[in-house]
Symmetry: C2
Subunit: 329 residues, 2 copies
Amino acid sequence: MAATIKDVARLAGVSQSSVCRALAAPDQVRPATRERVHQAAAQLGYRPNRVARSLSTGRTGNIGLVLPDIANPFFPGVVKAVQRRAREFDLAVLLADTDEDPAAELELISTMTKQVDGFLLCSPRASDEDLRSVSGDTPVVFVNRRVGRLPSVNFDSADGIRQAITHLAALGHRRVAYVAGPRSSWVNRERLRSIRSVATAMDLEVVEAGNVTPTLEGGIAVADQILAASVTAVIAFNDMIGLGLLSGFNARGVNVPADISVVGFDNIPTAGLVNPPLTSVDMPKEQCGRSGVELLVQLLNDREGRAGSRRLLPTQLIVRGSTGPAART
Amino acid sequence: MAATIKDVARLAGVSQSSVCRALAAPDQVRPATRERVHQAAAQLGYRPNRVARSLSTGRTGNIGLVLPDIANPFFPGVVKAVQRRAREFDLAVLLADTDEDPAAELELISTMTKQVDGFLLCSPRASDEDLRSVSGDTPVVFVNRRVGRLPSVNFDSADGIRQAITHLAALGHRRVAYVAGPRSSWVNRERLRSIRSVATAMDLEVVEAGNVTPTLEGGIAVADQILAASVTAVIAFNDMIGLGLLSGFNARGVNVPADISVVGFDNIPTAGLVNPPLTSVDMPKEQCGRSGVELLVQLLNDREGRAGSRRLLPTQLIVRGSTGPAART
DNA sequence: TTGAAAGCGCTACCAC
DNA sequence: GTGGTAGCGCTTTCAA
């Protein structure tokens, strides 16, 4: 049986309270006592029981990390950073993969809510209303989504889109397609908005396709539709879709970038590996994960504190072989 | 404030105990009472506090999932399956990424140990001795590693290697390289063993390279060394290294598979996307995750039960464009 | 079938 | 500075 605080107290010849203090608030205890306690604890290999602690403090030392699909290579980068930063705050990470399902998302949040101090909701698919209510019960930081003025970490997609479209325009493209991701994705809606406004401003024509799943399959499925749209370039909601397009085009013998240019978002590791490599708008995933944890921790400390802050991270177009001059018509 | 069991009891006009039973052991309570309790619970939106439950039952309803690097695309597939199966058993998943560091691994395990019922250790990097001691304290299922006769889920690497080498031999290769992964990886040691024995049996010559990190960078770094070894084929510890090799070869103007064939392990999603696509030994990741959870649950129920069972999952060589006939010399 | 009550291990408040 | 003690919310005897 693992040693409890009582065992330590007995061995050190002090009370439970003193043990507790010696470990939690070393300066409120006489050095000699502290020393005895530490020795006893070490001798017994005492590890405080976090569960018991949670029950009395109301804090669990856990954070919930919820995301739609860990198999999308965008997320592992974020998860890793979250993990690392969380550990530095002595927080454990409870992971939940919702499989892109808004109902599952809410259900998971609801079952986890009692065992975490707060949530990091990455690209949540639920409605603003539902998310707002979650945020009412528990501290929440949104990642890749904005819900009113609630705390969030976002990427500057609008600027990424501006970079992408400027790039395509400079290459001579006048008519481009946008392959939309999930309707439930806030980022998708944002990107669509930005594309429309930037394209208008630059006098480009935009063809909208999709609402496909943000997966390879989604991209492959929509490839023929894009070819039929007689555009010279296509912007995909994310790199997975972009890679699917490349694969679909390749299957049809369509040459990228000679016949059509492709741009994705996220700059996942695979983007640079395929042939031609995929031009993509990079999102600083590490920074995102770190910032998310930091904001959440801040929120946890400012108990009931002022409405949290929001962070906007810069994006950067990475030009690779999948974009090139538009064919002369 | 969230409703507690007391609130439900009061509203239903029964005792705490009855509420508890009505929810946990419905058949030990008169239907009428049960009904009242359920109604009250629903009305208050009561969700039992898992932390409190843990304290009294000693079970947390959490499992710890520990792995060396979530950014390696092999793992998300496993994680997803684990997640899904765990939910079906009403278990939450605590994730820990050790960054390939055996010390961090043990530290993480040790801090998590009180808040989980058991561990799923994926490709753990610590020593047998350390892992055995973990397994002494807490139920553990090893994934991608064998430690004595302790419960584990493994892939039949030996057979995968047999398939790979048979394939290469049939293509006329007589001298192949093996790029080893981390020294701390049990799977790496196993594969090395198998390769040696299979190659000897088939009268192939094997050149051993590496002990590189199982990443793209690892593969890229070792590419020139492989070219210098005058082999006609190379087997990489995993697909990440394999992809790195492809990339490195490409940078040197070496043609795959005309000049050299490449085989990887894991069949990660990216393997089929690159050009040429990477021949790889597929590991059934979904099944692995599911089996892991099932074994662990079984272990948790057979409290102190008989030494757990072990599962060996089949592997399958997926032949793609990165392997071809050996050049005549 | 139901209720009262004793903990699970820890923290935090209140006396000393 | 230190010790006693009352909970945190739930489960689980033990009686009734």
